[in-house]
Each structure stands twice: as structure tokens, then as C-alpha cells.
């Protein structure tokens, strides 16, 4: 494509991508594809005050063969626009620093630059002024431009398709000649194809926050902003051949490519006088002695030597040292952390204490982590307690310096809901309508379909509605703004702001770079992920509680391994609340996998993933495991790769190895395949490998059918298969939390509640589960509760009761709770009045405690009585009475009130209030109160359903705990119902789901008519018909308000999926991405 000498030549110097948020309407990929089609040989991406899109553009350029010219459009404070293009690496560094300067001044997502700032950074940059009219203002700006960029100063000539176009160009060219600035043709491209004009208008509306009817002259009023062919450009600018030729000259001068960005590891401060490698080796052997006090096993020694050798060859020692210092700092602050991801394949990481997978007991594949062929920086992700990670992050900034450390950004892209909302608003649809419409959609891929609108009785004949659906589909995937990555640090030796612009983040004291983690990956920068994991906080709290109350001192690595009781519990799928294996799908799998060893758990974590499920690997694996199917390997090399997993690829690295061993891929190609599978946007990319893989396998003697099957298995993987080491790291946390739950359910429950929100389940289920395990739960009490849930001694010395903390009281602030606990001290409160005076918290906070029934346990005041008493409190105690109270050392009541007998609350109402104000109840289950009615309607209990016979017809009803629609199994919805006897698991097939879509999406209590399906110990109810019982549930409170049923985070319907929660890298999150 490049350098075609036939026909006219033209380089487009002004193309705006959609990384100029809500301005450009096309992606870099679209622009480059179109440029390739049109025969444009090079394309400059100039986004507004940003180079956020250029890595994507760089990649697109590599694919299409159209050269990328790195550029940026500076919008200066006086309103002038200057396009700048670095000619070399140094000029690019200056551009980055210029942008960093402007962003630092202006704050997040803004940039504040003026002409005065430019001269310091202008060396090596080419500057093109984007003029308006050929007037005095323009002449003045041209003079400034000329003074700033001297030989690199140009004036852009663009057609506007407005009256006086020819005259304007003529005058501009004259003006340029006068100012000794050369004119150059640009086309001011906003979208790649004329069809995108509508979308462009829509994003302009979104930017201005108005509807298309109100937009008026704020539209982009210069027409024809799509990419045009060189012939067309030559025709349009026939009078300016030199200005056309100049596009090529500029392109020729701007030879800077992102390939030139060299990454430098930061120096570790502690390595005075020693090479990094020597330091690392010293630390490694020291660590090994610590890890293996009885002597380092030979096997481990060999592995360590091998790894250190490889690290030396690839010069990765500084990187290991960096991660080591971060982890060491966290340890010094007593912050629990553990490495995950491929790093767990490294014995060095283990002995340094970064990861916890013991190489002695596990087979590690170091090459998955670092490989000589791939030559790319290793990727160590470390999970920290989510509540205290900020300490680590600030330490990183301070230690490495703010010019050398910053977080990656995350590109927030439009998903279905956001697209519908914004497009609908722009087209003037009422907000409630767009909200309804978006509530009908689920995740990425489901998209907005006409059937959703029909479901809502919406009139698809309505033009605006049709346009909305159509344009929303186009908008999906477009970036909306940059946000910060949850924890991906980029650390450099050289100034970071010479590699990429840095901007301040919304959060105080944080700064982010303009590129996201895929960009960093593509450029092979080193990144340390400091992730926050809720379960780490939970484990930390749990281990602390163990130490304090039971005098058991453990950490993640010293928790007794391979404990049979723990595995027995896991096999029963009694795993509510534990890490990873608590979801419906995982629980259903546990009794089939029957984990007995740690490696079984690793498989368990890896197998319930969209990848293996999509690739149809689960059932073959299970059949082989149960001995129902022989384990066969068509070729011995396959046995080598897949032996551990009975011939079924379950892990990412196995997929890669299959490609290498069986289809003759090089390691590099296999890695490309993995990447292609990982980036969901390029779904077409994977298929490109199909011919190669299938062809390669057939060539090597596999039959075609087997090859096709293998490919479809691999295709299913995407990024949704785990690498083995990652699965192992997660399995370790899963095991540790299971062990805690198994042996210390009291500690586990308290730790889990204190680490909320996290996991799949709401506090109500966690508490209920703990009670089922014999833990005594004590209610919130103003005289006993602290902020956190705490353990209290019981008659039995080993058993502790758990006291719910004030954190369970909805709406109560931590400060007020602390004030109450502090004021309480050793002397219990005697009355509401007493609490109010001693703790001096606002009456509103006391109301919240009263509503949570926190005055009953110690003061025997029912909700209403407590509220009655609080209602009588004023803003301030009367001074005279306060003085009297102080003197008497006791409360002197201000008024002698007649006794008022309040009507006691009905039991059902108490339960409703419990749910409403603490999210759980220690009283009867709400369904208990409806049981007579349900029995009359022949509904059986969940327990009865679970004990039912296979194929038996049944009717069950219960609160809707979790609704899940795994991306892997598109046509199934799992619903968990709960009643007073237990839970029942519903399976809703697509047909039934479509028929009862609204009920599934909205009901808080469901009745189901269906058939029992029994697979060993696992019982599902396959529903034929669903009945919305929400009204019955609401009637409990005898009020017209819906039942305040709290939903756990596992309930995918209830959560807004627009923002992934960074703290739970659990299945739910990844699953949603998969849609």
C-alpha cells in the first residue's frame, strides 16, 4: 500500500479519532482500514490535547500497512488550534512533556496551554495552524506560529463546503505567503465514512448535553468530514498542488515511530555497589532458606538456578527487585498481599514471598511467565487488601518519584446501557423510556434488539426509537472517557512524561498516563499491577481475629495444607462466601469434580470459566475424570501437553502449547494467537489463525475433524480461560478461605461481614449460613456492638458468638458509630437520653440504630419505643438540665412524661424492618409468614424440593437471591431461591426466560413450576413457568412499599454493569465482560 507511485499521492494530516472524546466518530482501526482502501499512504491521528489513541493507531497501522504519523491537536487558551507532529524521538518527548504540563495545570481530562508555553518544547515539532477566516486574528496567530516553529510552521488549508470556500482558501494562501508560512492541505477528518455523520451529530449532542432538536448551530457545520481518496483531494485542491505535495514532505519529515520508545527499568535504590542480578540472587537464596528451614530441596534448587539464569539472560532482575520492594513494603506495613497471574509460575517469586505456590509441591512452567522467545516483560500482579492498598500506592509514587511512576488509564467505553442512555437522550426520548430499555439488556453482546422494545410494548414504528437502537449499536465500543486503571503501575528509569503524557487523576494524589494496559502491553512496557482484592482484606481480618481470640498465628502460606476436613466441606459445595468457588456454577461443579487435592481445586477454579465452557471442555473432562470415557491422546506430544488434564485443554498455556506442538506454531505465533483471543474487540482476528492451525494439524497427521474441534476449543478460550498459575494462585486463596470457614466459621463470618461489600452473597445469606454452621449470631446492640462485627466469648471456651457491628446499620456513619463506642467505654448506656447526651451524636444517627433495633438487646426498648424516645430529643440539651445532670452524675430528665403504650409491631413487620435497616434478620425468615398461603397454593419448601425425586413435578417459591446468566451458557439463567428451609436452584431455559423475562428481571420473590433434575447430590429445578410473588412479599410489611430485599454482588441483574468493580476480579466480573 505504501509508496504507491501510481496516480496522485496524498497524506492525510488531520484525522480525529474517537479518542477525542465525543468529537471523533470513528475508531483508529476504521480510519486506517478506510485509508488503506482509499489509497492514502500515511495518516496522522491528531486528537485534542491527547495522544491517547496513537497506540491503537500504531497497531492499526501495522495491520493495514498505512503509515501512522504521530500527532496531536493543541487547543490553546486563545481558541487557536495547532496541529503538532514530532519529527523524532526527542521531539516526541517534548510533546509529551508539553501535554503533561498542560494537563497538570488544568486538572483531570482538561488541558491548559497557551502560545507562551510552546517555544520551550517546539524544537523538532512541526506546527500546523488550523485557521478560521483569513483575517487579522489569523495573521497574528501565523506570526506567533512562525516565531515558534520557524521552518516547521505551516497553515492548514481545508475545504468547509460553505459559502466563500474558494475565496477563503485563496486569502489564507496569500496570508501564509505574507507570513512566510507554507500552506498545506488537510481534510479535518472526523469520521472514516460519510455514513458516520449521524453518529457524529449524536456525540456532539452528548458533549453539549442537549437533544438533537436543540443542537442547532452547535453541530459540526463544516461538511464532508470523511476520509477522501487522493484523487479526490487533488481534484478539490487542483489550484494548490504545492500544498498537496507538502503533505508528503511533512510525512517524510515526521519519521518518529512508537517502535523507538525504549523502555528502561527503574533502578532499585537498595542496590548500591551490586548489580541488580547479584542483589536478586542474594535475596533469592536468603528467601529460599527462609521458605525451607529444613534445607532447600534439590528440585527447588535446580528450578531456582534455571530461573535465575533466564532472568540474567533477559536482564529482568531489576523488575523482580522492584516487585520485591513493593511486596516487602506491604509486609512491613502488615498489609496482606499475594502475587497472582503467571508470576506464580516462578520459584523465585515464591521464595521472595511474592507468591505462595510452593514449587516443591507443584509443577511450575516458568516459560509461561518469562520466555526467551517472546522477549516481553514479565507480568506480576499482586493482590493487596482492598482497604489498605492506597498506602502501597502512595509509597510507590513517593519511592519512584512522580515523574517516573503513574497508573495506567482505563478506557471507559460505551456499552449497551450507556449507549442507549446517551443516544436516547440526544434523540429526545424520555428518560424513563431509555431507562426501561436499558434495563432489558444485559452486558455487552446482547445488544439492543427490537425484541426488547417489543417486550416493553414500545412502538417500533416510532422513528426516533428505531434510530436510537440503530445509532446505539454504532456507538457501542466507542471510548467515552479515560479513567484510572485499578492498579496497573508503570514505572520507568527515564522520565515517564517523556514517554507518554501524564495527567492528574480524579482521586487525590494519583496520576495516570494516557494509555491503557493493552497499549502498555503492545509497547512492551513493564507494568506492576497492585490490585485490590476484597478477599485479601477478609483473610487479613480473619487471620487477625484468629490471633487475637484463639491465639492461632497463621499467614496465607502457613495455613495447614491438604486438610481433609476442608476438602470434605468443599465437596459438599458448602462454600458460601469463600473465594471463587462460591458462585452457583462453581457450587454445581464441586460435587462432580470432587476435589481431594490442591490441584483439583486449581482445575475447579479454571474449569468454571466461559472459556472452557464455551469450548465444550467441561463435559469431556468430567466424563474422563469419572472414568466414563477413556483418556486417549491421538499423538504422544499431546499427552505431554494435556496429560495433567486428561487430554482436555483447560488452561491458557495448554492452548498455546497445543498450537506449538501440534500445529507447528512458533512461540511468538502462539502468543499472537493468545493475544488475538484476548482482545474481545477483534473477534475477526482469531479466525485468521484458523486456517493456519487446522492446516498445520492436518499436515502433522491429525484428522480434520479433530483439528476443527481443537480450534473451536481454543477459540472458546479468549481471555476467559485462566493461565494455570493464575488459577493456582486463586485456588490457594480459595483453599485458605475454605479452611477458615471449615474450622473457624465464627471467625470467617465476622471477617467476611467486615470486608463487605464483596463476593456473591449479601450479609443475610452469610449470617444465615453461619447460623447453619452453629455460630451464634448476636444482634446489633448499642451497648455491645462495635463498628465491626466482633467475636464475643460464650460458655464454650473454643466457640465464639458473633456480635453484629454497627456497620450493619444502614446509613449510620462510621464517625457517629465510633463516637458512640468511645463514649460507651466501660459504662453501659442506661437510656436513649443517656446515649444522646454522652455520645453527642445527632438524633438522626440514633434513629438509624433504633430502626435497626439496636436498643432492644440491652435496654429492652422495641423499635417503636426507642424511636418514640428519640423523637423527644431536641437539638441541644437544655442548659439548666445539662448542668444538673453533670452535678448529679446521672440523667435528670427534662420532662416527666406520662407512660405511652405503643402498639407492638407485628412479627412480619419486624422482619421487614430488619431487612430494611440491617439487610438481614435474626428472626424468622420472611417466607415463614407466607407459608400458609404458599401451602394453600401447593408450593413446597425449598428443602423438600432439594430432597425430591428426579423428574418429579414440583412448585417452589422463595426470595430471589441470585440471578446469573453466565456468558458461557447464553441460553441458561440460574436463579437461586431461598425460603425458611434452604435454597433451591432454578434453571431457566431460554424459551421460558423469554416468556417470563420481565418477571425474571424484576421479581424479588418468585414462584416456579417445574421439574426436579437430580445429578448426584446436585438438585436443580427446571422451571416451566415463573410466578411473580413480589406483591405477596410486600404485603408482609402491611405497607405499599416493596420488600427491601438486599442483593449480593453476585446478582447480575441488580448491579449496574456500566462500571466493573475493580475489587472483585471474580467470575462475575469476567463473565459480564464476556457478553
Amino acid at each position: 500500500m505504501t509508496g504507491s507511485t501510481e496516480g496522485p499521492r496524498y497524506v492525510e494530516l488531520q484525522a480525529t479519532s474517537h479518542f477525542s472524546f465525543l468529537r471523533g466518530a470513528s475508531s483508529c482501526e476504521d480510519l486506517f482500514d478506510q485509508a488503506a482502501l482509499s489509497g492514502i499512504e500515511a495518516l496522522a491521528i491528531v486528537d485534542r490535547n491527547s495522544v491517547a489513541g496513537i497506540v491503537r493507531a500504531h497497531e492499526a497501522a501495522k495491520v493495514t500497512g498505512v503509515r501512522l504519523i504521530v500527532g496531536c491537536r493543541l487547543d490553546l487558551m486563545d481558541g487557536s488550534g495547532v496541529l503538532v507532529y514530532p519529527t523524532d524521538r526527542l521531539a516526541y518527548a517534548r510533546l509529551c512533556r508539553l501535554l503533561s504540563l498542560g494537563k497538570r495545570r488544568a486538572g483531570k481530562a482538561k488541558c491548559n496551554l497557551d502560545w507562551e508555553d510552546l517555544p520551550d518544547f517546539a524544537e523538532g515539532l512541526i506546527g500546523v495552524l488550523v485557521p478560521d477566516q483569513a483575517d487579522e486574528v489569523c495573521a497574528h496567530r501565523l506570526r506567533r506560529l512562525e516565531a515558534t516553529f520557524t521552518a516547521g510552521a505551516y497553515l492548514a488549508l481545508s475545504l468547509r463546503r460553505r459559502p466563500g470556500d474558494a475565496m477563503r482558501l485563496h486569502n489564507l494562501a496569500n496570508l501564509a505567503a505574507h507570513a512566510r508560512v507554507q500552506p498545506v492541505v488537510t481534510n479535518d477528518v472526523l469520521f472514516h465514512h460519510p455514513e458516520r455523520r449521524q453518529l457524529q451529530d449524536v456525540v456532539t449532542c452528548v458533549r453539549h448535553g442537549c437533544t438533537i432538536d436543540e443542537l442547532g448551530f452547535r453541530r459540526e457545520r463544516h461538511a464532508d468530514r470523511h476520509l477522501k481518496k487522493p484523487e479526490e483531494m487533488h481534484r478539490l485542491f487542483a489550484k494548490y498542488p504545492e500544498a498537496l505535495a507538502r503533505t508528503l514532505q511533512i510525512a517524510d519529515r515526521c519519521r518518529f515511530s512508537l517502535e523507538e520508545l525504549k523502555y528502561q527499568y527503574p533502578d532499585e535504590v537498595s542496590t548500591a555497589g551490586m548489580t541488580p542480578q547479584a542483589t536478586l540472587e542474594g535475596l533469592t537464596w536468603e528467601g529460599a532458606d527462609r521458605r525451607y528451614p529444613e534445607g532447600v530441596p534439590d528440585k527447588v534448587q535446580a528450578i531456582l538456578r534455571h530461573e535465575l539464569g533466564l532472568i540474567q539472560t533477559l536482564e529482568y532482575a531489576p523488575y523482580f527487585l522492584t516487585v520485591n520492594s513493593i511486596v516487602r513494603f506491604a509486609r512491613s506495613q502488615d498489609i496482606l498481599c499475594q502475587g497472582r497471574g503467571s508470576a506464580a509460575n516462578s520459584a523465585v517469586c515464591y521464595v521472595l514471598g511474592i507468591t505462595s505456590i510452593d514449587p516443591e509441591r507443584n509443577d511450575l512452567l516458568f516459560e509461561r511467565f518469562v520466555s526467551e522467545e517472546r522477549r516481553e516483560p514479565p507480568d506480576i500482579d499482586v493482590d493487596f487488601e482492598h482497604e489498605r492498598r492506597e498506602i502501597v500506592m502512595q509509597w510507590v509514587y513517593e519511592t519512584y518519584g512522580r515523574n517516573h511512576a503513574a497508573l495506567c488509564s482505563t478506557v471507559i467505553r460505551y456499552r449497551t446501557r450507556g449507549a442507549i442512555r446517551d443516544v436516547g437522550k440526544a434523540l429526545g426520548l424520555p428518560e424513563d423510556l431509555t431507562r426501561m430499555l436499558s434495563s432489558q439488556t444485559w452486558g455487552w453482546s446482547e445488544g439492543v434488539q427490537p425484541k426488547h422494545a417489543e417486550e416493553l410494548n414500545l412502538n417500533l414504528g416510532d422513528r426516533r426509537l428505531r434510530l436510537t437502537l440503530d445509532l446505539a449499536r454504532q456507538l457501542m465500543g466507542a471510548p467515552r472517557h479515560l479513567s484510572q486503571h485499578p492498579g496497573g503501575f508503570v514505572l520507568t528509569h527515564d522520565r515517564l512524561d517523556e514517554l507518554v503524557p501524564i495527567e492528574p487523576a480524579a482521586m487525590k494524589d494519583r496520576q495516570v498516563i494516557e494509555w491503557d494496559k493493552d497499549d502498555i502491553d503492545a509497547l512492551k512496557f513493564m507494568k506492576v499491577d497492585c490490585l485490590a482484592l476484597g478477599m485479601m482484606s477478609c483473610m487479613k481480618r480473619g487471620l487477625d481475629l484468629l490471633r487475637v481470640h484463639k491465639a492461632i498465628d497463621l499467614d496465607l502460606a502457613t495455613i495447614p495444607a491438604e486438610d481433609p476436613r476442608t476438602y470434605a466441606m468443599i465437596r459438599k459445595a458448602d462454600t458460601l462466601g469463600v473465594f471463587q468457588i462460591e458462585s452457583r456454577a462453581q457450587m454445581a461443579m464441586l460435587p462432580r469434580i470432587k476435589p481431594r487435592t490442591f490441584y483439583d481445586l486449581v482445575i475447579e477454579v479454571a474449569i468454571v470459566r466461559p472459556g472452557p465452557i464455551q469450548g465444550d471442555m467441561v463435559h469431556p473432562y468430567l466424563r474422563r475424570r469419572e472414568g466414563k470415557e477413556p483418556v486417549v491422546f491421538p499423538k504422544p506430544e499431546l499427552e505431554k501437553v494435556l496429560g495433567k488434564t486428561l487430554g482436555v485443554p483447560l488452561f491458557q498455556e495448554q492452548a498455546m502449547r497445543v498450537a506449538i506442538e501440534c500445529a507447528g506454531f512458533t512461540a511468538g505465533e502462539a502468543d499472537q494467537l493468545r493475544r488475538a483471543m484476548a482482545t474481545f474487540k477483534h473477534t475477526g482476528g482469531v479466525s485468521g489463525f484458523k486456517d493456519k492451525l487446522v492446516g498445520g494439524m492436518v499436515e502433522r497427521g491429525y484428522d480434520l475433524e479433530f483439528a476443527e474441534k481443537t480450534f473451536s476449543q481454543l477459540e472458546g478460550f479468549g481471555s476467559y480461560g485462566f493461565p494455570e498459575s493464575h488459577a493456582a494462585s486463586f485456588a490457594l486463596i480459595a483453599y485458605a478461605s475454605s479452611w477458615l470457614k471449615c474450622h473457624h466459621p465464627d471467625v470467617f463470618c465476622a471477617a467476611l461481614l467486615n470486608a463487605q461489600p464483596m463476593g456473591f452473597y449479601a450479609p443475610a445469606q452469610i449470617v444465615r449460613d453461619a447460623r447453619d454452621h452453629g455460630v451464634e449470631i448476636r444482634p446489633v446492640c448499642v451497648n455491645a456492638s462495635r463498628w465491626d462485627c466482633a467475636l464475643e466469648p460464650t460458655d464454650h471456651p473454643d466457640r465464639f458468638a458473633m456480635r453484629l457491628g454497627l456497620r450493619q446499620v444502614r446509613g449510620l456513619s462510621n464517625d457517629d458509630a465510633a463516637a458512640i463506642v468511645l463514649a460507651r467505654g466501660e459504662q453501659a448506656f442506661t437510656s436513649v437520653d443517656d446515649v444522646w447526651r454522652r455520645a453527642s451524636v445527632p438524633a438522626a444517627s440514633l434513629v438509624k440504630i433504633a430502626e435497626a433495633d439496636g436498643f432492644r438487646p440491652s435496654m429492652v426498648l422495641a423499635r417503636r419505643e426507642a424511636l418514640w424516645a428519640i423523637k423527644a430529643l431536641r437539638d441541644e440539651p437544655l442548659p439548666l438540665f445539662a448542668a444538673a445532670s453533670a452535678r448529679e452524675q446521672a440523667i435528670v430528665p427534662e420532662v416527666d412524661e406520662p407512660e405511652v403504650a405503643l402498639k407492638p409491631m407485628k412479627a412480619g413487620r419486624e422482619v421487614v424492618e430488619d431487612y430494611g435497616h440491617t439487610g438481614l434478620t435474626l428472626r424468622e425468615h420472611p417466607v415463614t409468614f407466607l407459608r400458609p398461603d404458599l401451602a394453600r397454593d401447593r408450593f413446597m419448601t425449598c428443602a423438600a424440593a432439594s430432597a425430591g425425586k428426579d423428574f418429579q413435578n414440583c412448585r417452589v417459591a422463595g426470595l430471589v437471591l441470585v440471578r446469573q446468566r453466565p456468558g458461557s451458557a447464553k441460553n441458561v439463567t440460574f436463579i437461586t431461591l431461598e425460603d425458611e428451609t434452604g435454597v433451591a436452584n432454578l434453571v431457566v431455559w431460554e424459551q421460558v426466560y423469554e416468556k417470563h423475562r420481565r418477571t425474571v428481571l424484576t421479581a424479588s420473590m418468585l414462584g416456579a413450576v417445574g421439574r426436579i433434575q437430580r445429578e448426584g447430590d446436585v438438585v436443580h429445578v427446571v422451571a416451566y413457568k415463573l410466578i411473580d410473588l413480589s406483591a405477596e412479599l410486600a404485603s408482609l410489611g402491611q405497607r405499599d412499599t416493596p420488600f427491601p430485599l438486599p442483593h449480593g454482588r453476585g446478582d447480575e441483574f441488580h448491579r449496574s454493569p456500566s462500571r466493573p468493580d475493580p475489587r472483585t476480579p471474580t467470575i462475575s466480573l469476567k463473565t459480564r465482560n464476556f457478553h
Binding site: 463546503r161 466563500g164 432538536d213 424513563d432 416493553l456 410494548n457 423523637k871
Partner: protein
């Protein structure tokens, strides 16, 4: 429930926008209606009620039952579903009318308290949120409030609760501030002999206007509409109506406006009575005339507007204002003759013709595709050679309005012929894609 959700439940749902002001006005009118018909003390009880002091009024209808029944029935014929209750106090009647599901309820004065005891607390017209707060304490009915000691209640819920309670029980007085029917300003003149000659009618019109203006001036009002009725000897009534943009009580102006319409009156065998009324009148205070010599008084075109509007019909008089649209037909909108300027302008750099043809007219042209201006064109049979041209100005259809405009493009050119006349022409389509238009040419405007 949001409207969209409601529609999802019921497809046939007909939705109307809420109009609280309109509702309040209608309620006021209903109050006036009740005032004329039932009792001298009536007030609107927003948002959806009327309160009537029916003391001494019931016997006129044959008893209280009959009164209420009559009221409910009459309202039903007017399309209102109504419930009526009669009790010893406003509060009690208010509660009963809203919470007893019967068309009419009558409770003797001494039994009001008992009758409302089982009603929920929000029947008491309590401030926002108080009924909920009471509910939290387990106090759900009026009777339960009554049964609770007053001092603790007042301490917790303030005096408003006990005040409302007392009002409902008739222990505290609650005066009704009745509506008053506004007096219709009108003057009439009866003739001993029927009149019919136009000049006679005009003369008496002047006299009636004089009398009306005196009445208006006495109240400081000006008329916005005038109705003049001519009662003919054959018992038919002829009516003319004039409207004014601003309140007016200028005798000459009003007379002229009325006389302009006299020709539409058919006096038949003669008119015996003329009535002039000002059904819509607004305050019009006296204003000091500026005595400053330097300051020219701002011209008042309201008179002209009124005259024209009454002659041509109100809808036909408008002013043009710029609108923010690139499509020439839509770049102008009509505004009220006396409306303030909208403050919008077209971009000065992009000139538009001084005259826009009401409909673009087909022209024959010679032009090169895709975007060259015509070299010659024929309009209304006259062939013109193009000397100078500018363009194209590319104007896209407004895709959000109609399907037909999604792809539509017009390329506009300014052309100057040899005589120096300048024209605004366009071609449908961008000259490349047939989907954008059929490449036919039109003349759309003339530059001055």
C-alpha cells in the same frame, strides 16, 4: 411508576402530561360553579377538592342527602367522578370524602369524631412525612392519635398534629376563605325603537365603548377581549368579538376595532339591545408620559397589530425570526407579533439571499459533475449565462426529522449572470451518490 413501565404493563395506556396549573384553574372554576349553585361560602381545597359551608343551604334542595346527591349527579354529568361528605368540621368532611368509598356520606356533627376514628392518619391533612413518622411508632389511625396522651405527642410531632386533630374534631375553628365571583364588566343600552342603520350602530358603539372605558378606568383595568352582542327583535343575537395584544381602554382604538367588524352584523329587522362586555380584562395602570425632549417615545405598534389581527385573523399575523437550521426553509420561524427578539442570528459570513422563493423552482442547467457550478441556466423561460459563481455549499438533510432526509444532500451555489443579477440555486444530491438526490437543479432565492 414511571410512564414507560406503566406502558409496558398496559399497552393501551393513554398518557397525558401533568398540568398542575390547569388543574388548579379548573378547580377554581368549579368552586365558582358551586358558589352560584349551592352555598355562599365555597373554596377550592387543592389539589382535588372543594370545601363548602352548607349551613342553612340544605333545605333549598330538600335536605342534606338531596343536596349531596344533586351535587354528585351534576358533577357526573360534567364528567367528574365525585365523592361528597358532610360533617361537623372541615377536617372531618375532608377525611370522610376521601377515605369512605361511598358517593355521599353524611355524619351528624356530634358523631364526626367517631366516624373518623378508624381512618388512617394521613386523612388528617398532616405535613409531608408526618404520617409516615407516626406509622413508625405504630400509630396508624386517627383514633390512635386521639388515644395517645397529647403532651408527649406534641413534644414529638409539634403543634401541627394536635391542631389538625382538633380541627377534624371541630374543637378548633377553621375558617373557610371563600372564592368570590369576579364581576363581569359590561354595559348595555336598550332602544325604544329598534335600530338597524350601520351609522346608528356605530354611534351607539361609540357610546357603549365610552361607558365601558369609564367602568374599566374605575377599576384600573384594560380590556384584552371585547364581546358586543346585538339582541335583534326576532330574538336572535349577533355577536362580534375583538382581541387586543395588550390591555387597552383607549376609546378611539376600541371603537375603531369594533366598527371594523360592524359590517359582519346583520341587524335583520332591527336591534333592540346592545351589550358590550369585557370578559377578559387585565390591570392597566396610568403611566406618566415622558416629558424628556431628547428621548423619543418608543413607537407603540400594538394598535396596528390589533387592527391587522382583527381584520386578518389572529393566526395570520406573525414576525419572522431566525432559527438554527441550515436548511433554508427551516431557517426562519414564526413568532408572535409582539414577542421579544429571540436573540438568534445567522452567521454573517455565510450570506443568504434576500428573497427566498416559497418553493424552489426547477431550472435547466449546464454543469459539470460532481461539484462545478452551472455555466448557464434557464429560469422561467429566460436563459442566463453564469459569469461568476461560488459554491458548493453543502447542506445535509436533517436526518433526525424524516427518513427521506437521512441521505439527502443539497449543493447550493451563488451565481451571478452577465447582467449582474445574483441567484441562489441548488442541485439535489452531491453529484456522486444517487442516493443523496436525483441531481436536478432548482432556483431557491434571489440576492437583492
Amino acid at each position: 411508576m414511571p410512564a414507560a413501565q406503566a406502558r409496558a404493563v398496559c399497552a393501551e395506556l393513554v398518557a397525558h402530561d401533568a398540568d398542575p396549573e390547569g388543574d388548579a384553574d379548573a378547580l377554581d372554576r368549579l368552586a365558582l360553579w358551586a358558589l352560584k349553585l349551592y352555598a355562599p361560602i365555597v373554596a377550592a381545597d387543592p389539589p382535588a377538592g372543594l370545601v363548602i359551608d352548607a349551613s342553612g343551604a340544605a333545605h333549598l334542595f330538600g335536605g342534606e342527602d338531596a343536596l349531596l346527591a344533586d351535587m354528585v349527579a351534576r358533577l357526573a354529568t360534567a364528567g367528574f367522578t365525585a365523592r361528597a361528605a358532610m360533617a361537623g368540621s372541615w377536617g372531618a368532611a375532608h377525611a370522610l370524602a376521601r377515605f369512605i368509598h361511598a358517593p355521599t356520606t353524611i355524619v351528624p356533627s356530634d358523631q364526626s369524631g367517631r366516624a373518623i376514628a378508624h381512618l388512617p392518619t394521613w386523612a388528617l391533612r398532616l405535613p409531608e412525612g408526618m404520617a409516615d413518622a407516626l406509622g413508625k411508632m405504630g400509630i396508624d389511625t386517627v383514633g390512635e392519635i386521639e388515644a395517645t396522651p397529647r403532651a408527649p405527642l406534641a413534644l414529638r410531632f409539634g403543634p401541627e398534629l394536635t391542631r389538625r386533630l382538633d380541627q377534624a374534631h371541630g374543637r378548633a375553628s377553621e375558617p373557610i376563605e371563600p372564592v368570590e365571583a369576579p364581576e363581569l364588566i359590561q354595559v348595555r343600552r336598550m332602544f325604544a325603537e329598534p335600530i338597524g342603520a350601520p351609522e346608528t350602530l356605530a354611534r351607539y358603539t361609540l357610546q357603549l365603548v365610552k361607558a365601558l372605558c369609564e367602568a374599566l378606568e374605575a377599576k384600573g383595568l384594560g380590556a384584552r377581549t371585547l364581546d358586543m352582542r346585538f339582541h335583534r327583535v326576532d330574538d336572535r343575537i349577533e355577536v362580534i368579538r375583538v382581541g387586543m395584544a395588550k390591555p387597552v381602554r383607549d376609546i378611539t382604538r376600541l371603537t375603531r376595532l369594533l366598527c371594523d367588524k360592524l359590517e359582519t352584523v346583520d341587524p335583520g329587522f332591527g336591534v333592540e339591545t346592545m351589550v358590550l362586555a369585557a370578559p377578559m380584562a387585565e390591570p392597566l395602570p396610568w403611566k406618566q408620559v415622558s416629558t424628556d425632549l431628547a428621548e423619543a417615545p418608543t413607537p407603540d405598534v400594538a394598535d396596528l397589530v390589533d387592527t391587522l389581527a382583527n381584520r386578518l385573523g389572529a393566526g395570520r399575523l406573525y414576525r419572522a425570526a431566525p432559527a438554527q437550521s441550515d436548511v433554508p426553509e427551516r431557517s426562519v420561524r414564526r413568532i408572535e407579533p409582539t414577542a421579544a427578539p429571540a436573540g438568534e442570528t445567522w452567521p454573517a459570513r455565510w450570506p443568504r439571499p434576500t428573497r427566498l422563493l416559497p418553493r424552489p423552482e426547477r431550472i435547466e442547467t449546464l454543469a459539470l459533475l460532481p461539484d462545478q457550478p452551472p455555466t448557464a441556466f434557464t429560469w422561467r423561460g429566460v436563459r442566463r449565462r453564469v459569469k461568476r459563481a461560488d459554491g458548493p455549499e453543502r447542506i445535509f438533510g436533517e436526518w433526525w426529522r424524516r427518513d427521506g432526509e437521512v441521505d439527502a444532500v443539497r449543493d447550493y451555489f451563488q451565481l451571478e449572470d452577465e447582467a449582474g443579477e445574483r441567484f441562489w440555486v441548488f442541485r439535489r444530491g452531491d453529484g456522486e451518490q444517487p442516493a443523496t438526490g436525483d441531481f436536478t437543479w432548482f432556483l431557491h432565492g434571489l440576492f437583492g
